[in-house]
Symmetry: C2
Subunit: 332 residues, 2 copies
DNA sequence: CTGTTAGCGCTTTCAG
DNA sequence: CTGAAAGCGCTAACAG
């Protein structure tokens, strides 16, 4: 069906070696160059990357593992990763784990069997385990957004704890004391952000009502439910901190359905500005992550690893965050 | 580095053929089976799909081309496609074209060179051109959501024109006559939905004020701008139809920033219910596409093509839509 | 059921 | 600069 290098050999009378050399940017006599180029056009020749990869052991492809393609956060990150990779001449293989550690493990093996040159992982599992096969196969891995327990892998992330700390501090500065949090307790980012919340509260000498800590999982549903729960409290909080995009979204839904008005009745602080802040009334104060840099740095880091044969010491890049202004906070 | 079938041969004393047979689910003596399985574990053996694909000419991988991973519509579709593919034992290679036909063309070649067994494409370009190389390489292609000019390729979509027609009809039934539309004029879906709008208006004998037709591109920005434009009109429409998710989002932003109240001042009808309708006040009426079925049907269709050697006649699957209730329409 | 042999399409020495 | 030959890791006949 498809033309091979051999067909080009037939048409040009040149040897396989010469054609291969041309294909890989080597020097070839101008006349031969023309011959080859014509043959390629005539035959619609396209390199068979399978065969090439088999011998070179490089596929110029990196695998990207995401916990969910449905999450806008990942979609945005993927876009930046894809851009950077393309510029560097790399293709990417995106694998969606649907928030399932089991599928994630399978995906890693899938990527290995596809012989990707490296992996960028936005993990669902917090353990190192799923990545072990990649390490064993000698494939460099860069974690993005979420490190794993064992900090032995390169990682690009933000200081989640600090970011949360500052967000809650802003609430405190507005004299809020009864500050609730809706967070995920299943994942690294959620746990860190919760710690940041505690840091701020403790430092301010605010004691935290256990009812104000709504910990569950990372989803719109949970945000919605969690907010409902807070709204139903007799001693309702005066401010709430949402620790990720999906939770923010769900929580706002719940508020919209309630009789509460923000910021008069309740002040809000969200996380991850992905369009929502512009669509939702009132505009939410939000913690902003530098998504573009995160994607770019991860690619840069991975590519530099791919070059070297020996793994150097693991490295961590921590990017800064900021808080966007809104009108969802009323001073008390 | 990585173990090969040859290493297993060494350890087990069996021949390559037997091992290969085992790997491909053939019958092997129980004792040999155990030997092989142990060796695989010991050596962390993982099939080299490059080598396998090189000889079988099947990679059990399908490429998915999306115009943008950032679009929630695609993210959702991708999730369903991924699920179905995984169930069928196929891996997927996602390529993001960043809304750029040029990148799209490159992506097609990338997929071909990776020897995918088939391609599911949610295209940015409306022309057949970008897909030609795949056709030439004999790789089956199924279009999703958006067909191309030349209707010679399998396609799964909705009846966009009819869906829009019915949406506008609902507005008309509520006695609206000054109905505006914000749509994309660059893409198939936008154009079809615009036609549906005209159908409904014409049938109702409503003449359409040219100012009410705001045609541009598929983006939040354009939705925002377009709505601003409509709001600024002296003779403002009483209802507006948004023809996709991003435009709906942007338009709602604009309304939120204005003095208008929906539905008292203006009635709204959106497209694609992706979370937004729950977060946005008031809840929008929206045209709903059966995204899950779309993804599943596309996979099903592609897989059935991959089996056969000869391309049968192209087929089109058109799925039904519905309109979700909201409270964004006030009768006049 | 098992082993031998011959490639898949490409790159890569190493001579010339 | 070009060519001949070997081989990447695997599967697919075909014998045995």
């Amino acid at each position: 069906m498809a033309a091979t290098i051999r067909d080009i050999k037939e048409q040009t009378g040149l040897s396989l070696a010469t054609i291969s050399k041309y294909l890989n940017g080597g020097n070839v006599l101008p006349e031969n160059k023309v011959k080859i180029e014509n043959a390629i056009k005539d035959l619609h020749y396209e390199v068979n990357e399978l065969a090439r990869g088999l011998v070179t052991k490089r596929t110029r492809t990196v695998g990207v593992l995401v916990y969910s393609v449905e999450s806008l956060f990942n979609g945005t990150l993927l876009r930046y990763i894809g851009d950077s990779l393309r510029k560097a001449g790399y293709g990417l293989l995106i694998c969606d784990s649907s928030n399932d550690p089991q599928i994630e493990a399978e995906n890693v093996n899938f990527l290995i069997s596809k012989k990707v040159d490296g992996i960028i992982a936005i993990m669902v599992s917090t353990e190192m385990d799923n990545l072990l096969p990649a390490k064993k196969a000698g494939i460099p891995v860069v974690l993005l957004d979420r490190p794993v327990q064992d900090g032995s892998i390169d990682c690009v992330k933000i200081d989640n704890r600090m970011a949360a700390y500052r967000a809650v501090n802003l609430l405190l500065k507005n004299n809020h004391k009864k500050i609730a949090i809706i967070c995920s307790e299943k994942e690294y980012t959620g746990i860190e952000r919760y710690k940041g919340y505690l840091d701020a509260m403790n430092q301010a000498g605010c004691e935290v009502d256990p009812q104000y800590i709504v910990a569950g999982w990372h989803s719109i549903e949970f945000g919605y439910e969690g907010m409902k729960r807070l709204i139903a409290l007799e001693d309702r909080p005066t401010a709430v901190f949402f620790t990720n995009y999906e939770i923010s979204l769900g929580a706002v839904m719940a508020i919209n359905e309630s009789d509460l008005c923000c910021p008069q009745d309740i002040s809000l602080m969200g996380f991850d500005d992905l369009i929502m802040s512009h669509v939702v009334q009132p505009k939410l104060y939000m913690v902003i992550q530098p998504m573009k840099e995160m994607g770019e740095k991860a690619v840069e880091m991975l590519l530099s690893r791919i070059g070297k044969k020996e793994q150097e010491l693991p490295m961590e890049i921590i990017l800064g965050t900021k808080i966007s202004d809104g009108n969802s906070i009323a001073p008390l």
